[in-house]
């Protein structure tokens, strides 16, 4: 069930170039998180009104804690990065639909890019069967060790060639002949569009997680919409990333805007 709680910060550390990892005590929330769901996080100080949506990267059911991994891109995430262990934030979670894990799939392809990588960690932990994981970074990787534990094959691609395959994650997928029964992805929109085309060509059903600016986070305000095709191919409607998504069937997404 969705809840609003004050969550105290546990371990909070920098785990990469502009990349932080934060554990939050979240009893009542961790119990039923689905991978791909997110938390709407609000600091209890500062002038900001709107919470920030951040994916749930990992869950520790024993400790009743959840982990978020984030980059500092603006003032909200900057303030977050300054919070200390023991301090509290307000948390609205779990939100969104999450990935629909296909338990019968023999082999899953998991593709992440940049700050779309965090939610795929809990997903990788929970997916049964064989897992081929592709992670694309601009430069130095993060969370790589965490993913190693939950993958059969882990391929890293970096734009600048500082690690692994030099090129985009899609280049790496082609290079290594990625294959599977189902694909799960999260990352920047242009990457998701290319992955969707790739999956369509291969005939692999793909679930992709979108990002959009949010206010309420729970489906009430309609600011976070994306274009989703209706039954009849030509027409589309706006759906809410926060509650109808963030995970959508890649073939339903209209990419023009």
């Amino acid at each position: 069930m969705k809840r609003m709680i004050r969550a105290s910060i546990g371990r909070h550390e920098k785990i990469g170039e502009n990349c932080w990892s934060m554990w939050l005590k979240a009893p009542g929330i961790t119990e039923d998180v689905i991978p791909g769901q997110f938390a709407h996080i609000k600091l209890n100080q500062g002038e900001k009104l709107l919470p920030r949506p951040l994916s749930i990267c990992e869950i520790d059911r024993n400790q009743k804690a959840l982990r978020i991994v984030y980059a500092v891109v603006g003032s909200g995430t900057k303030d977050l990065s300054r919070m200390k262990s023991g301090e509290e934030v307000t948390l609205l979670s779990p939100l969104g639909n999450g990935y629909d894990i296909k338990a019968t799939a023999h082999k899953s392809i998991i593709v992440g890019g940049g700050m779309g990588i965090p939610p795929l960690l809990e997903l990788s932990k929970q997916i049964p069967g064989e897992k081929e994981i592709y992670l694309g970074y601009a430069s130095t990787p993060f969370l790589q060790k965490d993913f190693e534990k939950h993958s059969d094959e882990l391929r890293i691609a970096t734009d600048d060639g500082s690690y692994g395959y030099t090129g985009t994650v899609l280049d790496a997928m082609n290079y290594y002949h990625a294959d599977g029964d189902v694909l799960y992805s999260c990352g920047p929109r242009p990457m998701l569009q290319k992955i969707s085309e790739w999956a369509k060509q291969k005939g692999i059903p793909a679930q992709i997680s979108l990002e959009e600016r949010m206010a309420c986070g729970i489906g009430a305000c309609l600011v976070c919409t994306c274009k989703i095709k209706k039954e009849k191919e030509e027409d589309w409607q706006y759906q809410r990333v926060c509650s109808d998504g963030p995970v959508f069937n890649s073939q339903e997404v209209v990419w023009d805007a």
């Binding site: 002038e47 709107l50 307000t90 309420c216 489906g219 305000c221």
Partner: protein, 309 residues
């Protein structure tokens, strides 16, 4: 003084014949049709739920991004996305009628005729009140153009008043030189109540991409940033008209709500605060009760007549 036992203040209010158990309402467009917030608060405890703008046919709304955070506020450019009045009656109204609260429908249109058709379609529904939205800054035709021109405001109110069965509240735009003029005209044409303010037209630019943040370029500013403007307008309008007034704009806590009622509002609506805290409506109510007890006020009229100039 604050320690003496005081009986619970009477929060009930009569809004143009619609009896609210308390003056806490939701601001249209910020509360969906209630379902989503029902997971966080008891909807029975609200004075009224004002649902998002409803039009005759489904509207798609504006391209994204539709929101930009600003200092103490936010810009939105949803553009009144909604599935139309039929879908509202079929999908949302039955849900809302389960609760012991009043249901007020925010009516949108691009022409007088469209406004009227929505009002007529709702005439034999269980909706308690209509809120005529002549102040949305986010749609090209209709919306705000009705709200900033006295003649157009008069025309639409007159016609909708004739053709609607429920009490009619008219929502005013703050983007005007003199809000009391529009308020007066709207009252004269038969509005039963007024609500204000809708959002102030604003803009934000992302200096990184050098583009407007909003897909629609401009959008409506809401939140505590606009509270002083909203309060001033509510005060001015309450000095001008005799019909009841619902005040809104940046109400975040019970003291903010009390300010609006001191300024003359009969009830208040909570908008942006819901996004900061899904329990905002309940928190505002409790703080308002606490304040009234502290001030030893027994009912809302005492508060509403309490301003000392």
């Amino acid at each position: 003084m604050h320690n003496k036992a005081v009986k619970e203040p009477d929060l009930s209010v009569d809004l143009a014949g619609v009896k609210l158990k308390n003056p806490i309402m939701t601001a249209s467009g910020t509360f969906g049709s209630g379902k989503e917030y029902g997971e966080y608060i008891d909807l029975n405890r609200l004075g009224a739920i004002v649902v998002k703008g409803v039009s005759l046919t489904p509207w798609k709304g504006n391209p994204t991004p539709r929101v930009a955070e600003t200092y103490g506020g936010m810009l939105n450019a949803v553009g009144l996305q909604n599935p139309g009045v039929e879908a509202f009656i079929k999908d949302d109204l039955p849900f809302l009628k389960q609760f012991d609260t009043k249901v007020i429908v925010n009516v949108s249109g691009k022409s007088i005729e469209e406004y009227c058709c929505v009002a007529e379609r709702l005439a034999d529904s269980e909706v308690d009140m209509l809120e005529l939205n002549i102040s949305c800054p986010n749609i090209k035709e209709g919306g705000i153009t009705f709200g900033i021109d006295e003649k157009m405001a008069a025309a639409v109110v007159k016609e909708v008043r004739k053709r609607s069965r429920q009490p009619l509240m008219v929502k005013l735009s703050p983007n005007v030189s003199d809000i009391t003029k529009i308020a007066k005209v709207v009252e004269e044409e038969g509005a039963d109540a007024l609500s204000l303010i809708n959002t102030l037209l604003g803009m934000a630019i992302d200096t990184k991409s050098k583009r407007p943040v909003l897909g629609n370029i401009m959008g409506g500013l809401s939140g505590p940033a606009i509270k002083p403007v909203a309060l001033r307008m509510v005060y001015q309008v309450c000095q001008t008209v005799k019909i009841p007034v619902v005040g809104m704009g940046g109400i975040m806590n019970g003291h903010d709500a009390a300010e609006f009622i001191l300024a003359g509002a009969n009830a208040v609506a909570i908008g942006t605060a819901n996004f900061t805290n899904p329990c905002a409506t309940m928190d505002v109510m409790e703080e308002l009760i606490h304040y009234m007890r502290e001030q030893r006020m027994e009912n809302l009229e005492e508060l509403r007549n309490g301003l000392i100039i």
